[in-house]
């Protein structure tokens, strides 16, 4: 019991002193997950609008596929990207393995189905009268899409933030493709895994507390957005 209390005490001291190393780890986490999320959103939102508003063959299959990939195990994604980027693999010449770029690629793949799937639900959920009304008013298909995305913005934001939560907490994929190199590819979750393995619980705990705090903040924002969306309706 003592070592838990002692661990927490030292963890709080570490957080209060927030040294350059700890700060670097936190910033890298935010940078990697943030960039991955941005890329996933830039592709995912327009794509989900297309899938939601247009009719085409195999539409149901694609939606099911997206929903399945929402639960993609990070280690499998890590393994897959690892094999592609390794020197022995097809993209080895790009020398991307064990760099932050490789981590961003892996996390983008993890975030994409979540963003696409949740945005798709939000877009499909928009009252069909809006689509009809804007079409009657002479909107082009592109303008219709913009109107509907605007209307579904709360749901879309929820999807994006849910994906961010998953990325921040993810360890399997980024450990495999990033390699946990100090000051270069070492992020919060991989540090926690490593420090726990070393038997150094203080830093692991400190990062755990920070990670939970960020998570809490993200979820508070999510709650706020969702509440605003409900009130508006």
């Amino acid at each position: 019991m003592d070592f838990i209390i002692e661990g927490f005490r030292k963890a709080f001291i570490l957080i209060l002193n927030l040294d350059a190393e700890l700060l670097g780890i936190i910033l890298l986490s935010l940078k990697v997950s943030g960039t991955a999320l941005l890329i996933a959103a830039l592709i995912g939102i327009p794509l989900s609008a297309v899938i939601g508003l247009k009719n085409f063959p195999a539409k149901g299959f694609i939606i099911s596929l997206m929903n399945t990939f929402m639960g993609l195990p990070p280690v499998v994604v890590g393994l897959f990207i690892f094999m592609l980027l390794s020197r022995a693999g097809p993209f080895g010449f790009m020398e991307l393995l064990y760099t932050p770029s490789a981590m961003i690629i892996a996390q983008t793949i993890l975030a994409f189905p979540i963003v696409a799937s949740l945005c798709h639900s939000a877009i499909v959920g928009v009252n069909p009268i809006i689509k009809q009304a804007s079409m009657t008013l002479g909107a082009t298909p592109f303008q219709v899409a913009i109107t509907i995305i605007k209307e579904a913005r709360y749901g879309i934001m929820s999807g994006v933030i849910a994906a961010l939560g998953r990325l921040m907490a993810e360890v399997g994929a980024i450990l495999i493709v990033g390699g946990n190199i100090a000051g270069y590819t070492r992020v919060m979750t991989t540090t926690i895994a490593m420090e726990t393995g070393k038997g150094d619980f203080e830093l692991a705990l400190a990062l755990g507390i920070i990670l939970l705090t960020i998570s809490l903040f993200i979820n508070a924002v999510l709650y706020f957005i969702q509440k605003k969306g409900i009130v508006k309706k």
């Binding site: 000051g183 070492r186 490593m194 393995g197 070393k198 038997g199």
Partner: protein, 277 residues
């Protein structure tokens, strides 16, 4: 319907009770990633398990963490390679009956073209200086393992402080992953020979041994039981069974017969039976 449910429940309960009653004895062995990655345990443990009926569960972490786990009583026996740390832990009363078991050696590996021109150098410290002077990448375990401890002692001998340098990459992971990262980064690293031999073909590493044979690179493995006086729940008897088997003629012979697929012997047994510390 109710009767059926009752029977089912009884059946399930009975299965539990029977399985507990006939459960095999298990001990937890905490060891190092380099030993695990070499494949040694898959070779020796089945022989031990067949002889004694004791099942050995291996937890592989760095030597530093392995000793910590043992100190906390989360394992029954430790099989590691950092003699000074082991003897210290024995002196502090956390472990008992430490024995030398076997040895191999460390080697410095690097890119096939050896950009730092280490090949031909005889001493490990000389090699480390060359890496530093040229600013060639060096991947460090950085996980307080036996290999990491050895590496740090070598840097100390050269008078270089590598931590925080641009060319010094600390990964905080096991030996096989560290080699893989060195391979991808075209970097040098210090590895135990066992893991190197086990991985170089399997992973098609584009690396070679650039330095070997320096007496500084000797790597002794030791085994010790967690002190049952500190942790009452420890399976001391079974742990001692394992230790005694490991240093017995049969155990030592089994270690010697462990070879990679090219027939290289990976560990040299050197236990002095009955000479524990």
């Amino acid at each position: 319907m109710r009767l059926k449910g009752f029977f089912l429940l009884t059946l399930i309960l009975l299965t539990f009770i029977v399985s507990i009653a006939f459960a095999e004895t298990r001990i937890r062995l905490v060891s190092t990633t380099s030993t695990q990655d070499s494949g040694l345990f898959e070779h020796i443990l089945p022989v031990f398990e067949k002889r004694t009926g004791i099942k050995v569960d291996v937890v592989a972490v760095g030597t530093g963490a392995a000793i910590e786990i043992g100190k906390r009583g989360d394992a029954d026996v430790a099989f590691v390679h950092a003699r000074e740390l082991e003897l210290e832990a024995v002196k502090d009363g956390y472990f008992v009956n430490r024995h030398d078991v076997m040895y191999n050696d460390f080697v410095i590996i690097g890119p096939t073209n050896d950009p730092a021109a280490i090949k031909g150098t005889k001493s490990a410290t000389e090699a480390f200086k060359k890496i530093r002077e040229g600013g060639y990448l060096f991947v460090s375990r950085g996980d307080r393992s036996g290999t990491h401890t050895k590496e740090l002692s070598l840097w100390k001998k050269t008078g270089i402080e590598p931590k925080g340098q641009k060319w010094y990459l600390e990964v905080g992971q096991g030996m096989a992953i560290t080699q893989r990262i060195a391979n991808e980064k075209r970097a040098y690293t210090l590895t135990d020979r066992g893991t190197w031999l086990a991985a170089k073909d399997r992973e098609r590493l584009e690396m070679i041994i650039v330095l070997e044979g320096d007496p500084l690179l000797f790597n002794q493995y030791g085994v010790m039981a967690v002190n049952p006086q500190k942790h009452k729940h420890i399976k001391y008897k079974e742990a001692m069974g394992f230790i005694n088997w490991l240093i017995s003629k049969e155990g030592q012979h089994t270690i010697a017969s462990f070879k990679d697929k090219h027939g290289n012997q990976l560990f040299m047994p050197n236990a002095k039976t009955g000479n524990g510390q």
